[in-house]
């Protein structure tokens, strides 16, 4: 009876986890928000065109240096804003052109960084689905062992132990998911903050 209850609890847990799974058009995507694979310039930028002419931003040493500095998340946003303002002042008549290059660079770097995170989340989601399927299979195996005659207590105990272990592993991963999803969000927030700072200095 106790074992049946345990199994029921485990299976109920697995099923509620499945229900709580995020809904999305990409079945493997594990985060709550709708998946956006790539960021778009238009979500952040109202300024002059970001196109082939701005693709070589890295060739401008001053731009590349500023982009490298302000995209580092350890640099507080206030300070990043001050650096952008100082850069704009120093650029003088070239301000407009240079700031557009800075945005192109910031967008490239952070979009690339985010893309790696998204790929990681995709893999996480796929792995979690496999783990959930394994859990279901283990639950069914345990149920079969419990109802078999003659009863095999040792096998039931062994299967229960494994199921508990895997359930805990699955749950720990699930709990860390929110933080993993937040990494992508943090990068987007950084990009938005930098875009705002650059656009303010455009005038």
């Amino acid at each position: 009876m106790k074992r049946t209850l345990l199994l029921a609890t485990l299976l109920a847990g697995a099923s509620s986890l499945a229900m709580a799974a995020p809904r999305n058009s990409d079945p493997d995507w594990p985060c709550e928000q709708v998946k956006v694979s790539e960021l778009s310039v238009g979500s952040f930028w109202n300024g002059p065109a970001i196109d082939a002419a701005t693709a070589d931003w890295q060739k401008d040493a001053a731009v590349a240096s500023l982009v490298g500095a302000v995209t580092q998340r350890r640099l507080p946003m206030d300070e990043a804003g001050q650096r952008i303002a100082a850069f704009a002042k120093q650029a003088g008549d070239d301000k407009q052109h240079e700031l557009v290059l800075v945005f192109a660079g910031v967008f490239d770097v952070l979009n690339q960084e985010r893309r790696k995170v998204i790929d990681g989340l995709d893999r996480f989601g796929q792995r979690q689905k496999v783990l959930a399927a394994n859990l279901r299979q283990e639950g069914e195996g345990l149920r079969a062992a419990q109802t078999s005659t003659p009863p095999d207590d040792a096998k039931v105990a062994d299967l229960t132990k494994h199921l508990l272990w895997d359930q805990q592993f699955f749950e720990t991963r699930r709990q860390s998911l929110r933080f993993a999803c937040d990494v992508a969000t943090t990068i987007e927030q950084r990009l938005y903050g930098l875009s705002q700072a650059i656009q303010q200095n455009l005038g």
């Binding site: 928000q33 694979s37 778009s40 238009g42 979500s43 969000t185 938005y192």
Partner: protein, 325 residues
């Protein structure tokens, strides 16, 4: 005589000061991650107070008399009542499980609540705080709207991808209209002729003729430099004359301005990150948008169709309601 006049003047100033924010134009923003409501003084254009509420506050509106703020505390399975004068929680409404959004009948009662995890719409009598009915609809009910004449209630369901038309008298679903994937918000035009439904995954707004209960038009969005999967329509608002509609486009960080006659998008305004819900100030001078990722509200000047200000609020702002006085 002079002294008496001075006394009256001093008393009048005293009353004005004592009444504090009662005369200020005030917006209330639900912050989903912080479990708070930000109180925003629209004259100063800044957050002046933060109220602790239940878990995962989302839908927010004012009662008809504007004495109370109602907020869906989704993870607490309740709707909390906040007294506007004291900004204290003074009671709750039996919302049913996981209330996400709600709509009041124009008369101020009853309240229709979408229960996301329960496939139901709960009907609540606000004065007695009692459930009048629970109406089964589609899977994962989401948007709620009541027609201006109060005779039709529309609920959208995220997974069934439908707008369900509910009759006020019988409290039964009388029509199901298929829309694009993951419908979010339903909004009636003020003249009641159409209800617009945004589809977050479909990236469209379906225009439903209220009399025919059929989709008669669809609005698509395309912004230069924007991938189409970033366009995820959510909030919808019509100007009082129904001439212009505003649609919030989620992670596109844009609000589309639409001419309702031509059904064409005239402009895309860049606002804060992950723009979600919106509300007009009562004079319709400003439209406020909640921006989930940048933790602010954007203030749009409606006449100029320009974003004029960003006001910081709590984390993950979801909904906004503005008091007329």
């Amino acid at each position: 005589m002079q002294t008496a006049m001075n006394r009256i003047l001093v008393a009048a100033i005293g009353i004005l000061l004592a009444s504090g924010n009662a005369f200020a134009l005030t917006a209330y923003v639900s912050n989903e991650r912080d479990n708070t409501i930000s109180v925003v003084d629209m004259d100063q254009m800044k957050t002046i107070k933060t109220i602790d509420v239940g878990q995962r506050p989302r839908g927010i509106l004012l009662t008809k008399d504007e004495k109370d703020i109602l907020v869906c505390a989704s993870d607490d399975d309740t709707i909390q009542i906040i007294d506007r004068a004291t900004l204290q929680i003074v009671g709750s409404l039996p919302s049913g499980p996981d209330p996400e959004t709600f709509a009041l009948r124009d008369s101020g009662n009853p309240l229709y609540v979408s229960n996301e995890n329960d496939n139901m719409v709960t009907v609540i009598d606000v004065p007695t705080r009692k459930v009048l009915a629970q109406i089964p609809t589609g899977v994962e009910p989401e948007g709620m709207a009541v027609s201006p004449d109060g005779q039709t209630i529309v609920n959208t369901s995220e997974t069934t991808n439908m707008a369900h038309f509910i009759d006020y008298q019988t409290r039964k679903v009388v029509a199901n209209v298929l829309v694009d994937a993951r419908p979010r918000v339903a909004m009636f035009k003020h003249d009641g002729s159409q209800v617009w439904v945004s589809s977050e995954l479909g990236g469209t707004v379906s225009i439903i003729d209220t009399a025919k209960r059929a989709v008669v038009g669809k609005i698509n969005f395309a912004v230069q430099g924007l991938r189409s999967d970033v366009i995820q329509p959510v909030g919808i608002r019509f100007t009082k004359d129904d001439a212009t509609a505003f649609v919030a486009l989620g992670p596109a960080n844009r609000v589309a301005v639409i001419d309702t006659k031509t059904q064409k998008v005239e402009k895309y305004l860049l606002v804060g990150q992950r723009v979600w819900q919106m509300a007009f100030t009562p004079d319709e001078k400003y439209l406020l948008t909640t921006n989930g990722l940048s933790n602010d509200i954007s203030v749009i000047d409606v006449a100029d169709q320009k974003v004029i200000k960003s006001i910081q609020v709590g984390r993950l702002p979801w909904g906004v309601a503005v008091a007329a006085q």
